[in-house]
Amino acid sequence: MAKAAADKIAAPSAVERRPALAGQELSVTGVTLAVLQPAQRISLRAPEASVAVLSKALGVSLPQKPKTSAAKAGRTALWLGPDEWLVIDDAAKDPLADCAAVTALHSAVGISHRNVAISVIGPAAAATINSGCPQDLSLDAFPVGAASRTILGKAEIVLLRTAADAFRVECWRSFSDYVFTFLSEAAGDAAA
């Protein structure tokens, strides 16, 4: 019976992908929120000695300065810790595959489905996020390209400033409803 079962493999049919909060948007005075399309992501861990070769493999220089990021061709590497980067690829190219051939010491773990990304754009974007995030989001303290793991209300987020008035908020999948709702509530009061 076991053999029979193994022989009888049904034709693989790609099943439907159902991202959390797909397509949700909110637009109020001063700020627009949108749940972004799924992206490819890895959590990359590596000692300093491996950074150069990993950067080359990934096609983007892994930033080594705290609270910074680097981006190239739809791929962004965010410094999260001294040996930790979040690599996000919005161009549907799998960074996990790019790291697979690297023999230098590292750990790459696929987390494409773990995270959900929400864009927060508009003159009141920083105020919206500051409704629950205690960091100083002025352009001096958190310039364009700045990236950091931090807090939004009662959830952990990764925050990336993509433009003077635009942020990308990443959170874990099951927190996305909370985070989107929090940002929606905050957005309504952010123009003040």
Partner: protein
């Protein structure tokens, strides 16, 4: 009704916008922009409340945040009912409805005012002394009655429908207080370009410039200058101006909490606006420009409605255009009350007399008062206010005794001097210093990067204040990193200058036992109470405060602290600094719960985590339970089924055919690196080095003390990669525990940890038909028992998407856990479900999962263990690597007490009556006939009805349990002594044959 006390041409409000409002059911007209207090005074209403303890009639003492008396309830609708609103702060809007509090049946006739007559019984410490006996009566008799009689307002009984928002903000210079000093400091700082926040509690900036008619700055009236300066500040990109915003707490490292009252002053706030906005500001430098608060005179019956602070009367006149009476008396120990008399006289109000306690004061204000024809009396005291519901007279006597004279008045304006508002400075942990010459506590030693300017710093006079504040603002900006810029300091053209005053009780405040001279109006503390406290042995002001409750009301003693201190000091015969000042604590003024809660209510109270498969379970009518923040499907009732029936069916179906279970919430950690196995060896009791890639092992994690911390199945995907699972609730702390050891104890290991809990949706398929259900959908994995034995893992594809397929079981049946990327979770579940339907499989929830694992004696960490259970206690010795030389907990579990005989061990229990299901948590005893209190030898940890076993089953921790097999023990319950037999932990398929069945 015509507002008869409104003075045409006076005040700064546009008279056009009339606002109708009601107070205690009576309708009145006021003006938009004024306070409720101002509007009531304009209508000649002074009686607005009853006092806390004696139910004495009370009016308005002040025109600001320090108000102790005029607390009212503001009602927008049945849910928006706010008690204890200071009428001196509440702005009027059309349709405002207010009610007085703490009176029955009516404000003018209050039955509880009998307490005033019986007040000799109610003196300081009364409650402590009187209701001691009988002890039991306190809770059931005294306390409810006292609370009913001595309440403040009534709390609303419906959920607060308003929205409250919150904001973290950062700035270089935070200026607290928007009077002349605050504005000057903000201007100086703002001109350098640094980020400035200027906040003031009032609707209009200006502070005392709102009433100081004698101030002129930069060629303008002081108030007009303030408006111009604030408008200029508000237009600057680097400045945020916050009105109606109270800094209520000053915390470590220049972290200041402010509440902005956004819409309490609006007629129809609408849904768009929050009621309040909490600002949590981190400032590089803070400038405290919090001003000073005028003190009242302490004399007999100084609480009668119509007796108020002189500056309040000036504010009502000069800012709101309202006269507080037609024929006022003035009682002062200080020049500033003269200004009130002068302003009122010029506005056409009669000033009966000024009574000045000082002997021979001189000054321009005194001269001006005289020139206006006002009677001025030196060296005299007001020893009594006449009238009850409204002051009708003041009785004057030379302060050293002599003939009394009673002067009819309809208001008494008083000033004992000004107390610097050092509340926020004190909250910042700064130490105040007593200036003996001016009898004031002023900022002494600073603990944070802040500076006090103006009146709160003891600086007198507008010129000196602006000089000091402007310099401080510029310095704060420079200290925060600004470059110096050339700017123009505001120029003071004219100002008022006030001399000192007095502290403590004035002559006539007692010690006569029939006199009530109030020190603290809100808590009904009199001068006599303070003296009595000292006579009864209180020495420290902290004791006096607690014994008398002086300064302990919601006004935090803004007007009473210094008087109370001075009276205590005088009675003790000690100088004031030796008696000490009580500590100021946050909040400066009462803060609503709503503003503290902010967004964190309803859906945002706490994140609710749902799995990718949740929508399917919801559509199937699953009942959910909360497991930490997660919602988990508890059971899936079919039509007509109760929980019991559903769980029985699910348990039986799993063992008969198969069941699908959403295990996505299990914590998952990917351990990657060449030293991954070494790390696993250190963190788990089990051996890992020799585990083949593709195989799994049940792992136990201990704390260093040797007790079980977590457990879970771990799959080795490759030599350098483990897929670790944790309990649902334990996921975050296990990750933290592992990171802690990796970073701080074993940093030499080349291994990294990544949480993948949410990367994978996990579908457990358990039961004899499980393989038949999964196999048709899988590609690239040989699912035969030979190729995929129990406790193994393979990577491949299912339904065309990547999977990590575990062969493992938490039911004792042949079982699998299908991991797929989370976004595919629901679709793969649906595919498995339709395969399962062909075999009669069911979906099962966490309750059936619990029963099924208990039938097999599998423990649940946190249910069958409680942080004091070792692997040995749990019967899991086999999972501890005997040859290992180190792992976390290896030493702890060898401690003498942890290896001693007689420890509680996990065993099974069978009730003698198979139908009886034990209570989880129930205690277990050996001898049912022993005397109470019985010796408890253990407790039930898990207990269920098992339809598969046809009886109840239970797990229990029992002292020496494994040596008691077959013994009869007892579970005493309220109405039964339940007999149980100690058994092994496995109740079903003891040989474990079904894992491959």
């Amino acid at each position: 009704m015509i507002a008869t006390f409104r003075i045409p041409g006076a005040g700064r409000l546009k008279q056009a916008e009339t606002a109708r409002f009601s107070f205690d059911g009576q309708s009145y007209a006021g003006v938009e922009g004024e306070t409720l207090a101002s509007a009531l005074l304009a209508n000649g209403v002074h009686l607005v409340g009853r006092s806390f303890k004696y139910h004495r009639p009370r009016g308005f003492l002040s025109a600001g945040a320090e108000e102790p008396n005029a607390l009212v309830e503001i009602k927008r609708d049945s849910a928006r009912r706010t008690p204890n609103v200071r009428a001196t702060v509440q702005e009027l809007y059309d349709g405002l409805t207010a009610q007085s509090q703490n009176r029955w049946p009516s404000l003018a006739f209050d039955v509880s005012a009998l307490g005033d007559i019986a007040s000799p019984l109610l003196s300081a410490g009364f409650y402590y002394k009187t209701f001691m006996w009988p002890k039991s009566a306190w809770k059931n008799f005294y306390e409810p009655r006292i609370r009913a009689a001595a309440g403040l307002g009534v709390a609303p009984d419906q959920p607060d429908p308003d929205r409250y928002s919150a904001r973290f903000a950062h700035c270089d210079v935070l200026v607290l207080g928007g009077g002349a000093a605050g504005i000057a400091a903000a201007l100086a700082a703002a001109e350098t370009g640094v980020r400035v926040i200027l906040a003031d509690e009032q609707a209009d900036f200006g502070g005392s410039l709102r009433f100081e008619s004698g101030a002129r700055i930069d060629g303008q009236d002081g108030f007009a200058w303030a408006q111009g300066a604030v408008a200029k500040l508000g237009a600057m990109d680097n400045v945020r101006v916050l009105s109606r915003t109270t800094a209520f707490g000053y915390y470590a490292q220049n972290f200041v909490g402010l509440v902005e009252r956004v819409s309490d002053h609006l007629q129809n706030p609408g849904r768009a606006l929050p009621r309040e906005r909490l600002w949590q500001v981190r400032a590089k430098r803070v400038v405290l420009a919090t001003g000073a608060i005028e003190r009242h005179m302490v004399f007999a019956d100084n609480d009668r409605p119509g007796v108020m602070l002189a500056s309040a009367a000036r504010t009502y006149l000069n800012h709101f255009g309202v006269a507080v009476g037609r024929n006022v008396g003035v009682y002062t120990a200080n020049d500033s009350a003269y200004a009130a008399a002068i302003d009122l006289k010029k506005a056409g109000v009669g000033v009966a007399a000024i009574v000045d306690l000082r002997d021979n004061p001189t000054g321009s204000m005194i001269d001006e008062a005289r020139a206006l024809g006002i009677e001025v009396n030196f060296g005299r005291a007001v020893i009594r206010a006449g009238g009850k519901l409204r002051v009708s007279s003041m009785t004057v006597q030379p302060k050293n005794g002599g003939g009394e004279r009673t002067i009819p008045v309809d208001a008494i304006l008083m000033s004992a001097g000004w107390t610097p508002s050092v509340h926020l400075f004190s909250q910042s942990r700064g130490k105040v210093a007593f200036n003996d010459e001016t009898k004031r506590f002023v900022p002494g030693t600073y603990a944070q990067d802040c500076v006090s300017v103006g009146a709160c710093n003891g600086t007198d006079g507008l010129s000196a204040t602006i000089d000091e504040a402007y310099a401080a603002g510029a310095k704060a900006a420079k200290d925060a990193g600004a470059n110096t810029v050339k700017a123009t300091k505001p120029k003071v053209d004219a100002s008022e200058s006030w001399s000192r005053g007095m502290l403590g009780a004035a002559p006539g405040a007692g010690p006569d036992t029939t006199v009530k001279a109030f020190v603290d109006f809100q808590n009904d503390v009199t001068a006599k109470d303070i003296r009595q406290a000292v006579h009864e042995g209180m020495r420290s002001i902290e004791h006096v405060k607690r014994f008398t409750t002086n300064g302990m009301a919601t006004d935090q003693g803004k007007t009473s602290n210094m008087h109370g201190l001075a009276i205590a000091a005088e009675t003790l015969g000690k100088p004031i600094p030796q008696v000490g000042l009580t500590t100021f604590r946050a909040p400066y003024t009462p803060v609503t719960f709503g503003s503290i809660v902010g967004h964190a209510r309803g859906k945002l109270f706490d994140p609710t985590r749902k799995t990718a498969i949740h929508p399917w379970a919801e559509a199937q009518g699953a009942v959910f339970e909360d497991v930490g923040q997660w919602k988990r499907a508890w059971y899936f009732p079919k039509a007509g089924e109760d929980m019991h029936a559903a769980v029985d069916r699910e348990c039986v179906t799993v063992r008969k055919t198969a069941g699908l279970f959403d295990a996505s919430t299990l914590g998952k950690i990917e351990v990657v690196g060449p030293d991954a196995a070494k790390f696993m060896e250190l963190l788990y009791t089990n051996p890992w080095e020799k585990l083949e890639p593709g195989r799994c092992r049940y792992g136990i994690m201990l704390r260093e003390d040797g007790f079980i911390y977590d457990d879970g199945v771990v799959g080795r995907l490759a030599a350098d990669r483990f897929h670790v699972t944790t309990t649902t609730g334990g996921a975050p702390r296990v990750m933290n525990h592992m990171e802690d050891y990796l970073q701080t104890e074993f940093p030499h290991l080349n291994v990294w940890l990544t949480s993948t809990t949410e990367q994978w949706a996990v579908i457990a398929v358990q039961g004899p038909k499980s393989r038949d259900i999964i196999a048709p959908l899988v590609e690239g994995i040989d699912m035969s028992d030979g190729a995929l034995p129990h406790m193994s893992v393979r990577e491949g594809r299912i339904c065309g998407v990547p999977t990590r397929l575990f062969r493992m079981s938490f039911t004792g049946e042949r079982g699998f856990e299908v991991n797929v990327p989370a976004d595919y979770g629901q679709a793969v579940w649906e595919a498995l479900w339709s395969e399962g339907q062909k075999h009669g499989a069911c979906a099962y929830g966490t309750e059936a999962m619990h029963v099924l694992r208990a039938e097999k004696g599998y423990i649940i960490v946190g249910q069958d263990t409680d942080g004091t259970v070792t692997p040995g206690d749990a019967g899991l010795d086999w999972a501890v690597g005997k040859k290992k030389t180190d792992f976390v907990g290896i030493r702890g579990m060898a401690r003498p007490d942890l290896v001693a005989k007689g420890r509680k061990q996990l065993v099974g229990l069978k009730t003698k009556d198979p139908k009886v299901v034990l209570e989880e948590g129930a205690q277990i005893v050996g001898d049912p006939k022993q005397a109470i209190p019985m010796t408890m030898i253990g407790h039930v940890t898990s207990s269920y009805w098992s339809q598969n076993c046809g009886r109840s089953i239970a797990l229990a921790l029992v002292a020496g349990g494994r040596d008691r097999m077959g013994e009869t023990l007892y579970v005493p319950m309220a109405n039964a002594m339940i007999e149980v037999e100690v058994t092994g932990m496995v109740f079903f398929d003891e040989k474990g044959e079904r894992l491959n069945g």
